[in-house]
Symmetry: C2
Subunit: 133 residues, 2 copies
DNA sequence: GTATATTCCTACTAATTCCATGGGAATACG
DNA sequence: CGTATTCCCATGGAATTAGTAGGAATATAC
C-alpha cells in the first residue's frame, strides 16, 4: 500500500547525488551509472525536475545538471509534486458531488486528514535532512 | 500521488454502513445498492474483511455481514492493511541489499519516516472517529 | 568547421496493477 | 423444495507505470 513509483525514487536519488556535488554539475548519464538508474529514463525525470525549476541545466559538451537552490531550501514535497503531482488520496477531495452521502461525506474528512499527515511530513523534510539523516 | 484504490474506499464505506446498523446484519447486495458499489466486487471485498477477522458473516437466507467488534475498537489501519497489505512506500524498507548505497541508504531513512507518518495517522483514527467526524 | 558530448523532444512498446464481471458451488431457512 | 445468501475461482478489459528508441538542438574543443 502507498508504494512510491520508481520515478520518484530515482528522482530523489538523483537529487541526492547532485546535492553532494557541491555546486558543480553532473551529466545525466553519469548520475545514471553511479546510481544504477536506466539512463534514458533518468533523462525524462531530470527534464521534469527542470520544468519544475528544481534544477538548472546546460547542454553541449561539459553540460549537465545542478541544483537550482541549496539542499537546505529544497523541500521534499516539492520534489514529489514535481514528479507525481499533488498528494490526493481520493478523487473526491474537492468535488463534493461524487458520493452517495452527497454533501457532507464522512469518509472524505478522513481522507483530508490523511493528506494532511502526508503533506505535513513531506513539508517538514528538506533534501539536506535526507542527506544528513 | 498516493491515491487510494477503490477497493479500500469501497471497503471503508461498507464498514461505515455496517457500523450504523447497530449490531444487526446487512447483506452484501443491500450494502452495494445503498452505497453505489458494484455488487460482485463488494462480495470479494467483504470476503477479505472477513478473512482478516474484521467482520463476521452468516450465509443462507437472512444471512449477511456485521462488524466483528465495536466501531470504537476498529482502527483504520486494520482496514487498510486487511485490504491492501502493509503500508510500504518502497520495496527496500527491510531489504538493505538493494540500492547502490548498500548498507546504510539515506533515502531509505526518509521513506521509513513517511511510513511512520502514515501509519501514525491510520492508527490514531478508529471507525467511530470517521463516523462522528 | 568538424567531431563529440550533452540536453531536449516525441513517440512507442512492454509490463504490471487495478477494476471489475461471470458462473456456479455450498449453506441456511421456512 | 425453493429461495436468498455467502463463498470460491477464473477471466477479461482498462489504466497506469516503467522503460526504449531515435534523433534534433546546442555547446565545447581542437
Ligand atoms: S465524497 Fe469521497 S467517499 Fe464520499
Ligand atoms: S535501499 Fe532503497 S533507495 Fe537505497
Amino acid at each position: 500500500m502507498f508504494s512510491v513509483p520508481t520515478k520518484t525514487q530515482y528522482g530523489i536519488r538523483a537529487l541526492v547525488h547532485l546535492a553532494r556535488m557541491e555546486g558543480s554539475s553532473a551529466a545525466s548519464a553519469e548520475i545514471a551509472k553511479a546510481e544504477g538508474i536506466p539512463p534514458k529514463y533518468l533523462e525524462g525525470i531530470l527534464g521534469q525536475l527542470k520544468t519544475a525549476g528544481l534544477v538548472h541545466s546546460e547542454r553541449g559538451k561539459n553540460g549537465g545538471y545542478r541544483l537550482a537552490r541549496s539542499a537546505s531550501d529544497l523541500r521534499m514535497i516539492e520534489i514529489v509534486e514535481a514528479l507525481e503531482g499533488e498528494v490526493k488520496p481520493v478523487g473526491c477531495l474537492d468535488d463534493s458531488a461524487v458520493c452517495a452521502q452527497g454533501d457532507c461525506c464522512l469518509p472524505r474528512i478522513f481522507w483530508v486528514g490523511l493528506k494532511g499527515a502526508i503533506d505535513g511530513y513531506l513539508e517538514s523534510k528538506t533534501l539536506l535532512d535526507v542527506i544528513e539523516s
